[in-house]
Symmetry: C2
Subunit: 346 residues, 2 copies
């Protein structure tokens, strides 16, 4: 059997915590003999939940008591610095000190981003960790980064996003030679704001990514790129516009179907076909979005994640370790640990 | 009868020119006795098209020969400066010299934005003219600005966008006390990039707009604001993500319906209900998007505009003049012509 992959799980984060989180954790443990979980949260709550399941592999299932919970709406920096006994802070510390390889949460995005930087810490040489959700498109998954907190990044940061995104799509999602694009307002090289104009030639000059140039947002849903890089201000606009438009339009279609008796019958007749068509847009397959460039993996699932997403996210952690993604980042990006280099030179 | 509203029409611009453009122009002339059109383009082509219609009011329908056409893909600045005998350049000159009140085109967006600034010219005191398309939402129209060329604007420019957008929505689209929002990555006042953080307090302090705070893009399709302001880099991301997502998803729904015999029958049964539901997203009603803050009105329709959109865009020009929108801009925004003030002071 291969080496154990140790993941800290925020048992308290998300709309469906702790029930769905722990169900997903137990399912993942049963399905993956090389997975070792530390469930972080209110111990009595976790133990009571676990008691509902039979055959939990207890040697690979630990509980770490954390009495506080960071709520979705809390200001992230204050929450991370003050709630030292919260499941997010304690879980991330396990990654920081090397006890765990990865941390999973469906809780506060803001606290996850802040905690990732402050507690887990960046790989030396990585300027900023991007938050990189997978968007399901007509042709397959597309990684959009940054959708986190880097709202005014430098061109060199976008270059690192492109490199990390490319490696992630290739090794974790399984897209060969992923097409990397820069979000812009037009196809021409000289288009865009100052950031895009400066970033384009840097991406073009990178030898180890498949840079296909600029992409306009209208082409993203059709799957015109596998990795799209941009600042987080724009990334959030794109991601949430996709979510919002899809939700609104599919709601309208549903509303139209439910309007009359005739249309309701019509709805029944197209139901199966529509369901199988929409299956490809199901993001549950990917489980969660990684925060890239940290010393350990941090995966954030949707706040409304169900057990199946939790399980997939935990399995992504296993793959992450087996593929040695951080090793790949360091090797391909020629990351220089400046601190160490300085010390060595002295 | 009220004063004539004189509009220069680019007869050569757009995928369906000159046929649909001239059909829309003729329809508008017949329906509006106070409309006076100058059709700009290749004279023999225009005359041959016009000959197809009966009862064209010739006293209000003029032709101005322009031998060149600016193509969609041409670099805009070069096109505007070199093609002096193009329909866009000659049409815009009619607005600049006061012969016409407005200019309509379904041609090159880039050339329209550049020509608007260079040829028509800004109202004194307006820093940058925003391009402001109407997005149809679940609750009604939403004006998104800027979707043009101001990719790195200053906060003071976004303030002007908010003021102009508010007046436009109230006077032209007919939304009472329009809710103005700032696009951002979160609801809190201190969220966002440097531009958003600096702009928020300025918008909050404006006495004459109904500022409702930040809006995340996922709420835009549901109609959570009537006017959304942002830089054009983000504006284009939002607008084209909306278009692309809608096109892709409705295509998927159609594909699902056409897949089997059963689903095809289902499709027939929901057709009427779906059609009437989707009617509210029909942007043909609005005709075109204005370039705000110029000395005359410039309206740009979609490249694939049909006659009905052309007619509505031309009727928007009539309303624009009757409502004296530019006068409203000057009055409400307390625009100071700095050149004049300096001269007066001397």
């Amino acid at each position: 059997m291969s080496e154990l992959v140790r993941v800290a799980v925020d048992a308290m984060g998300g709309d469906n915590a702790p029930g769905e989180i722990l169900r997903g954790a137990v399912d993942a443990l049963k399905a993956n003999a090389d997975l070792d979980l530390t469930l972080v949260g209110k111990e009595e709550v976790i133990r009571a939940e676990l008691a509902k399941y039979e055959g939990v592999p207890e040697d690979r299932c630990h509980v770490l008591n954390a009495t506080e919970v960071i709520e979705m709406a809390e200001p992230p920096v204050a929450a991370i610095t003050k709630k030292r006994d919260s499941s997010i802070v304690k879980g991330m510390k396990l990654v920081h000190d090397g006890t765990c390889d990865a941390f999973f949460t469906a809780g506060s995005s803001g606290a996850t981003l802040v905690g990732g930087q402050i507690i887990v810490g960046r790989i030396k040489g990585i300027e900023r960790p991007p938050f990189a959700p997978v968007m399901p498109t007509q042709k397959g998954p597309c990684l959009l980064l940054d959708c986190g907190a880097n709202v005014d990044p430098k061109p060199s940061m976008l270059v690192q996003f492109a490199q990390m995104g490319s490696i992630y799509m290739e090794r974790i999602i399984g897209v060969k030679n992923p097409r990397v694009a820069l979000y812009n307002i037009g196809a021409e090289e000289d288009k865009g704001n100052a950031l895009a104009k400066e970033t384009y030639p840097l991406l073009k000059a990178l030898p180890d990514i498949n840079f296909i140039g600029n992409i306009e947002s209208r082409d993203i849903p059709f799957g015109a790129a596998d990795v799209v890089v941009c600042d987080a201000f724009t990334g959030n606009a794109i991601l949430k516009m996709y979510e919002g438009t899809a939700k609104m339009l599919l709601g309208e279609v549903k509303g139209a179907i439910m309007r009359t008796t005739v249309s309701k019958i019509g709805g029944l007749l197209i139901k199966n076909s529509l369901k199988s068509t929409m299956q490809k847009f199901n993001i549950k397959t990917y489980g969660g979005a990684p925060l890239l460039g940290l010393t350990g993996l941090v995966v954030k699932a949707h706040g409304n994640a169900k057990a199946i997403e939790v399980q997939h996210a935990l399995e992504q952690c296993i793959q992450w370790k087996h593929e040695d993604i951080n090793g790949a980042f360091k090797a391909r990006m020629h990351l220089v640990d400046r601190t160490k280099t300085k010390q060595d030179a002295q």
